[in-house]
Amino acid sequence: MTQTALTSAPEPGSLPVGPTPAGKRFRGLRRFLAPIRQAHGMPKAMLWTGGIITALLALTAILAPLIAPYSFDAYQSGGHQFPKQGHPSGTHLFGTTVQNFDVLSRVVYGARTALEVMILAVVFSLILGVLLGLLAGYLGGWLDRILVLVMDALFAFPYLLLAIVAGFMLSGIIGGGVVTAALSITIVYIPQYFRVVRSSALSAREQVYVEAARAMGAKPSTIVRKYLFGNVIQSVPVIATMNAGDAISTLAGLGFLGLGIQPTEAAEWGYDLQRAIDDVNSGMWWTALYPGLAIVLAILGFTLLGEGLNDVYNPTIRRRRIIRAVLPVPTARKRLHEAAGNGGGTGSTTGDNGKAGTTSETGTTPEEGDGQ
């Protein structure tokens, strides 16, 4: 334990020791992942919990047909119609809905819908946001000004309303499906990527190495691709993970308002909750509880993952594991100790307790050296 902590600990100004050929090749990736390996305490717990929940969610989504006892839109099986609003029982573990659907099956298939929409929405908004941000930040000029204005307006808009309006209009054009839902969520998140990428592109543009590249006659596309992209992209994973949870929440919100995916096309947790409002008023709990818990778990997974990543990567709140330096004990003192019958107090090397952390919060210094 202490041994690994010692070797993986960043020492200001020193690179990881002993680069193997493979290590050299993946140095960028390793440098990127290093803070994750060094995570400890709360961020580590959050990363792990979030990771496990997210993995379970993905598994459920992929294996939905194997896990779910029935199809998401089945109201009968083998000629037997399912009970209407049936209590949880052996044949229907989570009970049945007012439309005779099996709640468990809908919850399981809902994971698939949520994940599909989430991935599409995050990828769409990421591509568009990063692209527009790079363009605006690097090219500047009137394009930048117009884009900033539009993005600010989009950002100021209540995000759910934006998704509602987008969904409302898109469903008029291409109908209500997974892609429609994803697109209406996409528009909400473009501004976030745009802002982050634009501002880092703006500052990266002024760096000496970019100026040098320009002076050597590199084309703008080369500069953007080779020099800006890598610097600008670093904060994106954290935002993307945070947005993933948000996207699931927005999808459920849309579904709850009856504006999301049509119920015949896919199982959607938000829609199921909307159908459960009347059940709740008459005291039925299972139609609301299970889809709701599924939403909470899904969002929780991505949020924990994002929070953990943020804690690990954000230099202003990151705190590193404190590793106490082991100094050679002066011989004279040692003899004194021995004389006092005290067997040397240098055993504990990991000063892992929180109190020690408050005094040394110098995590930023080595990182600034890394960034260049």
């Binding site: 808009f157 709740v280 909470v296 929780l300």
Partner: protein, 342 residues
């Protein structure tokens, strides 16, 4: 002193000047968004029920046969006169909807903010002060869980527990029907009307109805408050002046309470401003969950009847509210924190 107020006035004027293009862009955005769909709003809303001649007449009435630029001008005018157009499906003016149903949304939002502040400020300060303690961990987990729980699911759970199961609180509506009928309408804000007319039973009834929605919506935004205040306090406590205060030998409790707390609370106002958009979105969902007939419910109703004018008007109003409130927040910020003014 006079110089200071002068800079404040200049700040306010600059800020208003900056808001104008923002509003214009927002209006263009709403206008364009509402016209992305093919066909025109009238046939979308009432295509099935009317003859082509009637349709054409309706279209003409609403001005949808005019060129787009003229339509935009009409739209701008309706916004500037705060009329926001007349709905297609039931012929009400959007402004009258805002007056009559806005009270519910306002009551809901204000109560939620009170809940969020009352809970978020102390929890955030405690979590930041005792960083990495068990309490800090619990508070952070609480913040994340409230953030992860959709407001409508929380609302349904609250209804299940407190209404269906325990029977303590009503589950929907903003008051009993009899109460609603007996309170004379003055401000269109039921709670305020009941207070004005001094009907304490009615006030109590309305309070009971709003309690669950307030808490539900308040918990939606409390997580952000906790997180922001916690991080702010942590960063404030690392400031030089805190270090200096400690070096002068001031008691740690005094350092935290007198020096750090106040400064770490300045951003609360900013956070509140940023949360307004989330609050409005959450209000739509909360209204739907608790069957409150506020602006959010109206918006959803009009969306379901595909009433473009009503949707356009209400969405515009929401957008304006956000812009105006964030402007007011900036003013308050400038007032309490001189560093903001420029």
């Amino acid at each position: 002193m006079s110089k200071q107020s002068g800079s404040l006035r200049r700040y306010v004027l600059t800020r208003i000047g900056l808001a104008v293009p923002m509003v214009l862009i927002l209006l263009v955005l709403v206008f364009v968004l509402m016209r992305v769909a093919p066909g025109d709003p009238i046939s979308a809303a009432q295509g099935g029920h009317l003859t082509p001649a009637q349709l054409a007449q309706k279209r003409h009435q609403a001005g949808f046969d005019k060129p787009l630029i003229l339509q935009f001008w009409e739209y701008l005018r309706s916004v500037l006169t705060l009329n926001f157009g007349t709905t297609i499906s039931d012929g009400r003016s959007v402004s009258s909807i805002i007056v009559q149903n806005g009270g519910v949304t306002l009551t809901l939002a204000v109560g939620a903010v009170v809940v969020a502040l009352g809970l978020g400020v102390p929890l955030g300060l405690l979590a930041g002060r005792y960083r990495d303690s068990a309490g800090d961990t619990v508070t952070r987990v609480f913040a994340i869980v409230t953030y992860a729980t959709p407001v409508f699911f929380l609302g349904l759970l609250a209804q299940l527990l407190f209404s269906s199961h325990l029977g303590w609180l009503p589950s929907s509506g903003q008051a009993d029907t009899l109460v609603q009928l007996n309170v004379p309408t003055k401000t269109h804000i039921l709670l305020l009307d009941a207070l004005i007319s001094g009907q304490w039973d009615a006030v109590w009834n309305i309070f009971q109805h709003y309690l669950l929605p307030w808490i539900t919506l308040g918990l939606l935004i409390v997580g952000v408050f906790i997180r922001m205040i916690r991080i702010n306090l942590i960063q404030t406590l690392q400031g030089d002046y805190v270090e200096a205060a400690r070096a002068r030998g001031i008691k740690e409790s005094d350092v935290v309470v007198k020096h750090a707390f106040r400064n770490s609370l300045v951003p609360v106002v900013t956070v509140l401003g940023l949360q307004i958009a989330m609050l409005l979105g959450g209000a739509v969902l909360t209204e739907k969950t608790f069957n409150l007939s506020g602006l959010g419910s109206m918006l959803i109703n009009y969306i379901n009847s595909r009433d473009y004018i009503a949707v356009q008007g209400l969405v515009t109003f929401f957008a304006l509210v956000v812009v105006v409130i964030s402007m007011l927040i900036d003013f308050i910020n400038a007032l309490i924190d001189p560093r903001v003014r420029y």
